[in-house]
Subunit: 249 residues, 2 copies
C-alpha cells in the first residue's frame, strides 16, 4: 500500500469516526505502529487531524473557533490572568466562575499544569479544554444566556458537595463598605456557594471596578483571601483592602 494512499485511508477513518487508534490502524493496514505514528505525525503537522496519545482525533471536531474578540481592557486582564495563574499548583481543585477576566486567566495557565477545574461557565470550559492536562468538572443546570454560566438550585447543591482548594472569581464590584457586590441574582447564588465550598477565595478584577457598588451582596471582605488587579500591590488604591486583611497580588 502506498504511503499517501494509507494516509488518505487514515484521514477518511478519522473523519468518519472522530478518532482512530494507532494499534487498530496498524493491524488493519498491516504496517508497523511506528509507521502509523509517523503518518499521524505528518497529518497532524498539516492540520488534517489532531494527534493524541495512542491515536488521533478529527481536527474539525477538535478546533473550536476561539472568540478572539475585543475584550474590554484585555491587556490589563492578561496581567491579572498571569498573576492568578501563578497561584495554581499541580493537583489542586479549583472552582471558577465566568466572565472575561476568568477567560484571560484560563488562557494564561501553563500547558503542563495538572489540576482539576470545576466550573459552570461554558466559555471558560472551552478554554480549559485547550489545556491537555487539566481535568474539567462541568456544573450542570439551566444555562443563563446573559452570563453564559449554569445557574440554579441544582448547580448550587452540587457545589455544596465539593471542598475545593481555591475559588477564583471575576467580580463585578468591590468596596470597603459593602464588600463584593453583583447585579445578577442567579449568579450570586453560585458565587456564594463557591466561596463557602473553598478553603481560599481569590477575587480578580480590573482596578476600574474598585470602589464601585452593585445592587446584590455577594460576600463581605472577610471572606476574601486575595485580591488580584492589574495594579502594583503597593498602589494606594488597594491599601484599604490590605488593611482589611486581604492579600494583594
Amino acid at each position: 500500500m502506498l504511503k499517501k494512499e494509507r494516509q488518505a485511508y487514515i484521514l477518511h477513518q478519522v473523519n468518519l469516526h472522530n478518532k482512530v487508534v494507532s494499534a487498530t490502524l496498524s493491524a488493519e493496514i498491516a504496517v508497523s505502529e511506528d509507521t502509523i505514528r509517523r503518518d499521524l505525525q505528518e497529518l497532524s503537522e498539516t492540520g488534517k487531524l489532531v494527534k493524541v496519545h495512542g491515536g488521533a482525533l478529527s481536527a474539525a471536531f477538535y478546533d473550536n473557533p476561539v472568540i478572539e474578540s475585543n475584550v474590554y481592557a484585555q491587556t490589563d486582564k492578561q496581567i491579572i490572568g498571569n498573576k492568578a495563574a501563578s497561584l495554581i499548583k499541580d493537583g489542586m481543585f479549583i472552582l471558577t466562575g465566568g466572565g472575561t477576566t476568568i477567560l484571560e486567566f484560563a488562557r494564561c495557565l501553563p500547558s503542563t499544569l495538572k489540576a482539576t477545574f470545576i466550573s459552570g461557565s461554558i466559555p471558560a470550559i472551552s478554554e480549559y479544554m485547550n489545556h491537555p492536562n487539566i481535568e474539567i468538572i462541568v456544573l450542570g443546570d439551566k444555562l443563563s444566556k446573559t452570563s453564559r454560566i449554569t445557574v440554579g438550585a441544582d448547580a448550587v447543591n452540587r457545589i455544596k458537595n465539593i471542598k475545593a482548594d481555591l475559588c477564583i472569581l471575576g467580580i463585578n464590584a468591590i468596596d470597603t463598605e459593602n464588600g463584593v457586590t453583583d447585579n445578577d441574582w442567579d449568579v450570586v447564588q453560585i458565587k456564594q456557594q463557591m466561596i463557602a465550598s473553598s478553603h481560599k477565595t481569590i477575587c480578580l478584577t480590573i482596578s476600574e471596578k474598585i470602589n464601585t457598588v452593585q445592587p446584590i451582596h455577594v460576600c463581605g471582605l472577610n471572606k476574601i483571601d486575595s485580591l488580584i488587579t492589574e495594579l502594583d500591590p503597593g498602589n494606594k488604591l488597594l491599601k484599604p483592602f490590605k488593611d482589611a486583611g486581604i492579600t494583594i497580588l
Copy 2:
C-alpha cells in the same frame, strides 16, 4: 507498445483502481520502471493523476480530502441538519449528544424556535447559545476530552430524571445486524440513557457510516424511531432499515 497507448492504459488503470504502482505497471507493460516514472510524471503535470512515492493516485480520489473545509462532508451534514431541524417544534424538550453532525443540526435551527435543549456537549451548547429563544440545560459531570461531552454516573442519573420528547443522536456506526455501535464506553452510557429517557429517538448519520460496525453496542434497531441521512429516503441503501420499522427521512 506506443507511448500514448501506454499512458492511456495507465490512466485507465488509475481510474479503475484509484491507484497504480510503478513496479506493477512496469511488469505488466514490460518496460522499465524509469519509463513508467516518466509517464506518471507527464500525466501528473497535466493533472490527469497525482504522482506519489511508489506510484500514483487518481486525481479525483486525492483531491477530495484536500478541499475539505472545517467539517468533513459539511454539505452532507447540513442536509441532515436541516432535515432534523424541521422536526423540532416550539415547546419541545430535546436531549442531544455531541459530534459534528449535531453541531450542524444546531446551526440549522431557526432563530424563532422556542424549545428546551438538554445536552452535555460543550461545542453543541456553544451553538445553542447563539439561538435567542432556546433554553439550555447543561448536563454536568466530568468532561471527556476526546468527545467533549460530559460523561459519568452523575450525568447518567440526571438524564434518568428527565422524560424528553425527542432524543437526537449523531451516531458513529449502524448496521442491520448489530444496530447502533460506537467506540467510546463512557459516551455509550450517556447515549443509552438518553434513548431510555426519550419518547422518540432520532439518529443522524452520513451515509458513509451505514453498514459499518464499531466495538461497543449502543442499542438495537428497534429502539430507533427515525434515521436521517443525506440520502433520499427511497435510496436502496436504507431499505433494510425501513423494513426494520424505522422511519427514514
